[in-house]
Structure formats: C-alpha cells, structure tokens
C-alpha cells in the first residue's frame, strides 16, 4: 500500500507542471491540507498534538506540556475565548460553528497570553469571515455511519452481532446580516452521537435502566451563538452571547469511567478596541457560566456544580517596522457552588511581550506573565530569537520557564479541598493529601527551517522539557467481577501528587505547496522520557511515542477537491487500567446472544487512511462532502475503555445563500 501511495504521489507531481513555482505562503501554525468535517478533525490534523477518546465523540488533548489530564487548549472564536472545559474534559462538539465557516485555524502548543487570556496549555484560534453585505444564510447537515452492522445476519444466532448505529446527525445553521458599519449573526448547532460500540455501550448503557425504562444511550450537544459588531473610524465594538446545553457522559478520570451529566455553558462578551497609527487599545468583559447538573441515571450520580467567572481585561499594543510591544492585565472574579461548597476566587494577571527586528536577519522576542491569586503567584517568562543564517536556512531558539497555579489546572481536587465532596458520593477514597503545588517547567525549543526548493520546506525541531513539578491525578481502578452490572471498574485510592521528570520531543516536517491545486505534507513526531519518578513514567505511557501523518490536498478543478491523510500512531499504555487487562466485557441485558470482548491496557499501534472528496454546486452555494475514515479498517483504539473505531463514512451537505 505504501508503495502504491508513493507511486501515486509521483504521478500526481508529474501531472502538475502548469502550476509549478506558484508556491503559496501560509502561516506555519495554520492548517490547510485537509478537508475538515467534524470539530475533532481539527485535533487530528495538528501534528504536534495527540488526542484520546473513550466514546469516539469527545477527545482529550495533549498539546505538549501537561498530558491528557492537564488543562485543555484554550479555544477562541474570532479572538474571544470560550471556556467549555469541565474538570479538564472538553468537548469540541460544543462549538456552535461548522468547520466550513472557519476560514483560518491558528494554533500554538505552549502556554502563553493570547487575546487577553492566559492560554494555559496552548490554544486553538478559530477565525471566521465577517458576514457579507446584506442577508446571508448557511445551513449544513452531516451524517455518518460505522460499518459492521449485523444486517440480515441478525436472523442467524451464530452470526448475529450488535447494532452499530449511525453517527450524528449534526445540524448547523447561521443567519447573518452585514451592513456597511455593522453586522449581526446567529448560529445554531445540534450534534448527536450514539455510543453503540460494544466496548463502551455496555458501560454507558448500564446507567440507563431507570424505573423500568431504558433511556436512550445518546449524547446530544446543542449550542447557540448571537453576535453583533459595529465599527466607526478607529473604533470597533463587538458583543456576543453563547448558550449551550448538552446531555453527555462526562468521563471523570478520578472515577475511572463516565458519569451521565447535563453540562451547560453561557457566555456574555463585550469588547471594544481602537487603533490609532501604530497603537492599539482593547478592553473586554467576559462572563462565563458553566454548570454540570443531573442527567437521569440509576445510580443517582450528580455533579451538582456550577461556576460563574467575570473577566475584565485591558490590553495595549504598539507596532512599527522594527518593534512590536503588547501588554495587558486581566482581573478574574469567580464564584463556584458544588454540593455543599461555596467558593469565591479573585485573580489578577499581568502580561507583556516585546518583539524586535534588530537586523534584517535577526529578531528577538521576550514575554512575561504573572498570575496572582490570593495565596500564591505564578510567574512565566520566555525569551527567544530567530536568525536567517542563509537565504534557505533559518534557526530559532526559545527558552521558557512556566508556572501554573493549582487553580488553573482545573482539577476536581482543587474544589474538593474547598469542600466539594463529590468523591464521597462516588465512593472514591484517597489516602494522601492532594498536591496544592503549582506546576512548573522549563522548556528549550530549537527549530531549523530549510527551504529545499521554492515550494518545498523542511522543519526540524527539538524540544526538551523539564517538569520541576507536574501534578498528576492517578486512579488505578479495580475490576468489578459482576459483568451484568455493566460497570467493570471500582474506584480505589485516588492520588493527586506532585511528580517530576523530563522529556524530549523531536519533529520532522516536510511540506510542498504547488499553487492552489496541490499541497502535501509529512510530519513525524517522536517523544520519549529522559528521567522522572515512577508515576511520571507511567503517566506519559498514555501518550504514543511515535506519530506520523501524511496529508495531501488536491484541487484538480475549481469545483472539486480531494484530501487524503495517512496516519500512524504507536502503541500507548493506560497503566491506570492494569487491573482490567485480559478481563472480559459483554453486551448488556436484555439482548440477543451475549457478545464478549476483552479489555487491554495497551492500545495497539495503528496505521489508517482517511479520504475525503468535496464537490461544489450552484456557483459554490452548495457543497457536498463525502469522507471515508479508517479506510483499511484497522483497529483504531485510543483508550483501554474506548471503542474500536472501524471504518466509517460521513456525508455532509452545506448550503450558503
């Protein structure tokens, strides 16, 4: 197969002589080589990041510094951050946008202040185009299906297998009006998912039999966004409201499995900015209300938790040909309630950065941010430089020291220490006090960029990170022998301890952009631990050591586009689930002949291919997209408790008027 792909690649290269030399320039940290359909496709397309899922719908992300159990990357829509992380569980399906509406995706893997917010674990910066003048409407529907339904073999007791339902549907719509100086727009999204694979259906479904009724085993995520913008002269104003209500199964790591919950999110944002010559000034108010409420389940589990944050931020910037300055401050006031807990927090953050082009070929940059809470302060600083050594070779180096407040880790242990006793409700014990230390780390990154030909670039990057303190939540769950309950895990002593160690990451990236019609790239990531405590080593075994991704996008004609991505991921080991190794799980009662599977702590390495085709109609008003995922139908599994994601196909139709 690899040989065939290589031959095809050569063939395609040989068939594009008419556009050779029209190399496009694109920001290094934006994505362009895939047709993205679902929000989670964004995560898979970022080479440095890795993701894991227990249901195939919501993914935990490791963006480089904190692993799957650390804070998740901050997500921005048009410069305004949205905060739908619940105890570090973040569901990107809560985005009220379609991927069609996102024109540029910027990302960064390191902690930094970005658009008036401290992005603790990097960020995803999603930018949409401003509405056209007059009315415009967008609407899309996406449906998907995973293969391996029983079909007519359901009549044969020796061949019958569980029903694997369709994925989705997802509905997205937008209505907008653009005037000469103002615009207004509204977005609605509804995404649904049926976790029907045997490996998670038996576990999640076990909650659903309540008062003699089987409730649907289904996740439903609904969102709405309304925004108004106005600009006059040098001033611009924006205000945004966002509302989200979701029936979910939140994977609560200290518990070792999912808990049914209704998560809610409301946001009000007001922003004003002014640009005068080289100066810019911006002020913003954000109110975020997050909640986790009761969703019907036969155990009576209830997070009963909510928090409201008020964030006031002020920033200023100066930019000329040689110098760029940015500084700002954020004041955050937070009120949280959970079971019997009542808690209030106030934090202040000051940040600043300077970037200077000292010489045509040499630039320097430095950044500092200080996060001040009631009893502790976290300081982060970075310094870096870039040097154009030859016409075709540039080198950049960055050294950073980063501290993160315990509060910023978004761990449930933070709230437990303030009286949120969810652990008692769930039967989670712990023998040692939870760590209250700050996370701290030092990172050195060296990047070489080579231009091999006008349209070909090569990146070699090495990163060394020393975690002086890394708070790791850890729950080695016990196996429950009573299979009929569909539970399989019992929480045991939970630990949240400060660990230390160091890691390397090496990256090789190769990109060729040949005009608008042909782009392809290859990225290889290798990670390994240098030293550290025993738990530090166990924790990072969840992250695959090697990742390889080859992506190609071909647009042979203006109304047709193809993309393909080949992805390799090495094995990972979920040591927290070692007690499940080799144990069986089975389908739920009441059902046809019982189906059995086996838990494995080690998720296998896999190589898979996704292909996507998009055809536009009616002067690009109507787009249809057809995608095949896991074309080779290999075992794609990200977590011991996660499903084996067999081949899937996805169809999307979107209309823009």
């Amino acid at each position: 197969m690899i040989r065939r792909l290589f031959i095809l690649l050569l063939f395609l290269c040989c068939n594009t002589p008419d556009v050779l030399g029209q190399a496009t320039t694109e920001k290094k940290d934006s994505l362009a080589t895939s047709i993205l359909i679902k929000p989670n496709d964004i995560l898979q397309a970022i080479p440095e990041w890795t993701a894991a899922t227990t249901d195939g719908f919501a993914y935990r992300v490791h963006s480089g510094r904190y692993g799957f159990y650390g804070p998740q990357p901050t997500v921005y829509i048009d410069d305004i951050p949205i905060d739908f992380s619940y105890f570090n569980w973040q569901n990107l399906n809560m985005l009220p946008l379609s991927t069609d509406q996102i024109k540029v995706i910027g990302y960064h893997s390191d902690p930094r202040a970005h658009h008036g917010m401290l992005a603790r674990s990097g960020y995803l910066d999603l930018r949409t185009l401003p509405p056209d003048t007059g009315f415009s409407i967008y609407s899309s529907i996406t449906v998907g299906n995973q293969i391996e339904d029983p079909g007519p073999w359901s009549y044969d007791p020796s061949r019958v297998t569980p029903n694997i339902d369709r994925r989705g549907p997802h509905y997205i719509s937008e209505i907008a009006y653009g005037g000469s100086r103002w615009y207004a727009k509204g977005h609605l999204s509804l995404r649904q998912h049926q976790p029907t694979n045997l490996n998670n259906n038996h576990r999640i479904g076990s909650y659903s039999y309540v008062d003699g009724v089987w409730h649907p085993v289904k996740t439903t995520v609904g969102n709405g966004l309304a925004e108004v913008g106005f600009h006059t002269g040098n001033w611009s104003f924006r205000t945004r409201g966002l509302l989200s209500t979701n029936d979910e199964y939140v994977f609560f790591q200290p518990f070792g499995r999912e808990i049914p919950a209704v998560t809610g999110y409301r946001q009000l944002a007001v922003k004003a900015s002014r640009k005068t010559g080289s100066w810019s000034l911006s002020a913003r108010y954000l109110a975020n209300h997050k909640s986790m409420e009761y969703r019907v389940n036969n155990k009576g589990y209830n997070f009963d938790w909510w928090r409201i944050n008020h964030l006031f931020s002020l920033s200023s910037g100066y930019q000329n040909r040689w110098l760029s300055l940015e500084s700002g401050g954020i004041l955050e006031i937070s009120n949280a309630r959970g079971l019997q807990m009542v808690n209030q927090q106030s934090l202040a953050t000051l940040y600043g950065s300077i970037s200077s082009q000292l010489h045509r070929d040499h630039s320097l940059r430095a950044g500092l941010n200080i996060d001040i809470a009631t009893h502790e302060t976290a300081t982060s600083l970075s310094i870096g430089s870039t040097h154009q050594l030859t016409d075709d070779w540039s080198i950049s180096a960055v050294l950073d020291y980063n501290e993160m407040l315990n509060y910023r880790q978004e761990s449930s242990t933070y709230w437990y220490r303030r009286g949120y006793d969810l652990f008692s409700q769930l039967g989670i014990t712990h023998s040692r006090p939870f760590s209250s230390q700050k996370n701290s780390s030092t990172q050195v990154k060296l990047t070489n960029d080579y231009t091999l030909a006008p349209a070909v670039s090569l990146t070699l990057e090495g990163t060394y990170i020393d975690h002086h303190t890394l708070n790791i939540p850890w729950q080695v769950v016990a196996h429950d022998e009573e299979q009929y309950t569909g539970i399989y895990t019992h929480p045991r002593d939970f630990a949240f301890t400060a660990e230390h160690g160091s890691r390397f990451r090496l990256k090789l990236g190769l990109t060729q952009k040949v005009g608008p019609g042909f782009t392809h790239e290859l990225n290889m990531i290798h990670r390994y631990n240098r030293d550290g405590t025993a738990r530090y080593h166990s924790y990072w075994k969840q992250i695959p050591k090697q990742q390889l991704r080859y992506a190609v996008k071909i647009r042979p004609v203006t109304d047709l586009s193809f993309s393909a991505a080949a992805f390799y991921r090495s094995t990972a080991n979920w040591k927290e689930y070692q007690n499940l190794e080799g144990e069986q799980y089975r389908s739920l009662q009441p059902q046809y002949p019982l189906q059995y599977g086996t838990f494995h702590t080690r998720t296998p390495s896999f190589f898979n291919i996704d292909i996507t085709a998009r055809k536009w109609f009616w002067d690009r008003r109507l787009a249809t997209t057809f995608s095949l995922r896991n074309l080779l139908n290999t075992e794609v599994r990200y977590h011991t408790l996660g499903p084996d994601q067999a081949m899937q196909f996805i169809i999307k139709a979107s209309l823009s008027l």
């Binding site: 197969m1 065939r4 792909l5 095809l8 063939f11 395609l12 068939n15 594009t16 299906n145 293969i147 391996e148 339904d149 029983p150 079909g151 007519p152 073999w153 359901s154 009549y155 044969d156 007791p157 061949r159 019958v160 297998t161 029903n163 369709r166 071909i554 042979p556 004609v557 109304d559 047709l560 193809f562 393909a564 009662q589 009441p590 059902q591 046809y592 002949p593 291919i609 292909i611 109609f617 009616w618 002067d619 109507l622 057809f626 095949l628 074309l631 080779l632 139908n633 081949m647 196909f649």
Partner: protein
Amino acid sequence: MLRKATAFFLFLLSMAAAGRAQQSSYEQIRLDASGALSLLDNSFSRHWESSPGFHIGTRINYHAGNLEAGVRYSNYSARDPAYDEASFSAYFIYIGWEYPFRLARQLTFAPGLRFGNTFLAFRNPATYPAAGVWAEYVFDSHESEFAYELFGRLEYKLGNSPWHLHSSFSYNRTLTYHPLPVGLLSLGISRSLSTPSWLKNFLQ
C-alpha cells in the same frame, strides 16, 4: 479486497487529475434503466435468494469521465429454513464515477466505482429470545450500511438515435460485520440528452 479497492480508487483519482482538461463538463446527461441478476455463489447467496433487481440512474460528463448517481432495488427472501419467514428489501443508493473508453464507433467500455449506502428494510425483524418472552430484544426494522461497487459497462449506441443498450457486470460489497458480497449481471437501456441550462448552472 478493500485494499485493492483503495488502490483502484486512488488510481481513478489520479486519472481525474491527469485528464482535467479533456473536455468541457456537464454537456450531456444520460438516463439509465436496467434489470440485474445475481450471479455469485457465496455464503450470502446460499442463505438468501435474490429476486431480479431494478436500477435507475443518471450520468453526466465531468472533466475526465462521468459522474453518476442512482438507486438499485433488490428483494431477498431466506433460503435457510432456520430464518423462518425472513425477508428484506435492499436499496443501494450511490454516487460514482466511470471512465469510458471507445472500443468501436458505437461501442464503449467504462470501468467505474460507486460508493453508497445500502438501506435494508426487514419485514419481520429478528427477535431474541423468541418473540413474546420477557425482555425480548427486537432488531431495528430498518438498517443502513456502507457499500461500494466496482463495475464494467459495455454500451452500444443505436444508430444516430439518442438511445443506447448497455450491459454491465458489477461486484457490490455491503460492509456489514459479515459482509454481503453480490455479483450482478445487468442489461438495460439509456437515453442521452443535452443538459438543460438550469441543471448545468446548478452543477457548476
């Protein structure tokens, strides 16, 4: 088989890229109707008896080759007595692409590939344990599954008329857990016509 299909599909993509300036698109549309008989002998055909299928579709020239879409209906009844009175209808709804080669002045051969969904409608859905028992589990009466099809079509143009005769062999595979492979021999007629301007505008 799936790997071969992948390689074939990628080959077809490359053909599309290579021949993009071959001809102007959307000039001609063709309407097809045909009947199909199942040929292959395999586990599926030994357990299920297929009635002749009926197919309608449409094709339109698009850069290199033709884009196509259509639906084929088949009915199946159980050969295996253990399945009782089981029967179901299958609708294969697809989009596809073919690349025609001219063999003679009025004869063309077109290999192609179709992707789509097979929708299954069961008249008496399977029930476990036996019907009427406590906690019985009844399967859905409707199901759908991804399917792909490789085909080769011979087409003969009838004089100067817009009518054509065609015959094709197709291999269809619906990817249920235990797949449903079907080989079909079909015979049918086609009529070609100039694409109406409103349709051409829509397709562009």
